[in-house]
């Protein structure tokens, strides 16, 4: 069996979520969704000698939790897909040697989970494989080091900054029937709206989210009201307000819209405009929304993971920031 893309999207009939595993940092645990995560850590190191190694452990724990819940072994998964924010996808590949199966590393910054799920889903739908795992991880301290300043550096953050979430997420996908399925995926175009400020990701990414939203609706010939809830990945408070304005100006109809970066933390937590990082949307959608879907609170949810594909070298060379958004729709299967 094979199928074709309609536009940039694929409708899926045979891709089910078998189980999810989530791990979270302390700040994420103290947030409003804290109780939904499988495991949390009390500090940035949790017994490891560096932040990078702590990040690897978070990924390992998330994969372990996910496999455990589905009563699977590492070998039962045919292919692993995943990525993180570090150079050379450090956290993923340094853990991949323990998996004994092919690991396909992907990078889309904070949209990595969307890309990983899309790749896994397409292979599953085509019946090339039976089980796949999509995973992602991010750590506030390693991301700060990668993209910004040392964490103890006493600089004043811009009020448009976002805060990289700490945690790991693994999702086991299968072609066997289960309660929640991935009903479609939309791969986004890279959009560059000439935004230069690396401390203002929400503003840079909102057009990409809007582009993928429109593409998704056009390709599947539906409108926003088809979904109970539409979530963007990590646009933060500012980006969310821009997205709302773009949707309103374009007369798009929808039931409910929110942003994962705004849901992950309480208002009194000092995270500037909100959460970001690949694990931000993953924790909210698979830690929280997925469980609400199992309880039947939501039937159909569209998640648009947004990623700013910036490179600090290119930012210093005064080039604008390209952004991308990959969407996937979760649906309670009949």
């Amino acid at each position: 069996m094979s199928f074709h893309f309609s536009g940039n999207s694929v409708s899926l009939n045979n891709v089910y979520i078998e189980s999810v595993g989530t791990t979270a940092g302390l700040l994420e645990y103290q947030g409003p969704l804290g109780t939904y995560f499988d495991k949390y850590y009390l500090d940035h190191y949790h017994g490891n000698s560096s932040y990078e190694q702590a990040e690897i452990e978070m990924l390992s724990d998330a994969i372990f939790a996910c496999l455990n819940k589905a009563k699977l072994k590492k070998d039962d998964i045919d292919l692993y897909f995943g990525g993180d924010l570090n150079n050379q996808l450090t956290a993923c590949y340094y853990h991949a040697c323990h998996l004994n199966k092919p690991f396909i590393g992907l990078y889309s910054a904070c949209a990595t989970m969307g890309l990983a799920l899309a790749n896994a889903s397409i292979l599953l739908e085509n019946q090339n494989i039976n089980k796949a795992m999509a995973c992602t991880v991010s750590h506030n301290a390693t991301a700060e080091r990668q993209f910004r300043y040392p964490i103890e550096y006493g600089i004043q953050r811009k009020n448009t900054s976002t805060f990289t979430a700490t945690g790991g997420c693994a999702v086991c996908l299968s072609s066997q029937k289960n309660k929640v399925r991935i009903s479609s995926v939309t791969l986004g175009k890279v959009v560059d709206m000439n935004q230069y400020d690396a401390n203002d990701m929400g503003r840079a990414m909102a057009p990409a989210a809007f582009d993928t939203y429109k593409q998704h609706m056009k390709d599947l010939n539906i409108d926003g009201t088809y979904y109970d809830l539409i979530l963007t990945g990590d646009l933060s408070n500012y980006g969310k307000s821009i997205m709302e304005k773009l949707l309103k100006d374009d007369h798009q109809k929808y039931n409910q819209y929110n942003d994962c970066g705004c849901l992950l933390y309480n208002k009194d937590q000092n995270v500037y405009q909100g959460g970001s990082g690949p694990v931000c949307s993953a924790l909210v959608s698979f830690g929280y929304i997925y469980k609400l879907m199992l309880e039947g609170k939501y039937k159909r949810v569209l998640i648009l993971t947004t990623g700013a594909l910036l490179n600090p070298v290119m930012t210093n060379q005064k080039l604008s920031i390209p952004c991308v958004c990959h969407g996937y729709a979760l649906e309670v299967s009949e």
Partner: protein, 147 residues
Amino acid sequence: MDDKKYDKIADELRPKKQVLKNTIYAFLFGGVIGAIGQFFLDLYQNIFSLSEKDAGPIMIITLVLIAAILTGLGIYDRLGNIAGAGTFIPITGFSNAMTSCALEAKSEGLVTGIGANIFKLGGAVITFGIVASFVLGGLRYVFSFFW
């Protein structure tokens, strides 16, 4: 949608910069650091009977030490987020830039980590400090012939 139209939409919704609040905080924190410096200067001159010339550098070293310890304890970056230029501009800011880089690079070892990275942020201050002193020193030398 073109870039300019988007910029217009985004600019309207941008969260407001708190210029007045930031300026007041920077002024107060900077002033407090200055007062602490003056306290040590007086202390060294009056209690330890050092000359003003000797007391100055020792006072600076004391402030650098305090800032380095506060950085290590994870306090300075929190102060910096409130105080902005108030903690960034004084010598304590330079101390924080070096200490924070050293702390971050610690996991890569003494030479390739701390040694190579300690001036990552502070290096710019040293480079342009030397360039500026060279230019100004040169100008002063030239002017000294006419003045």
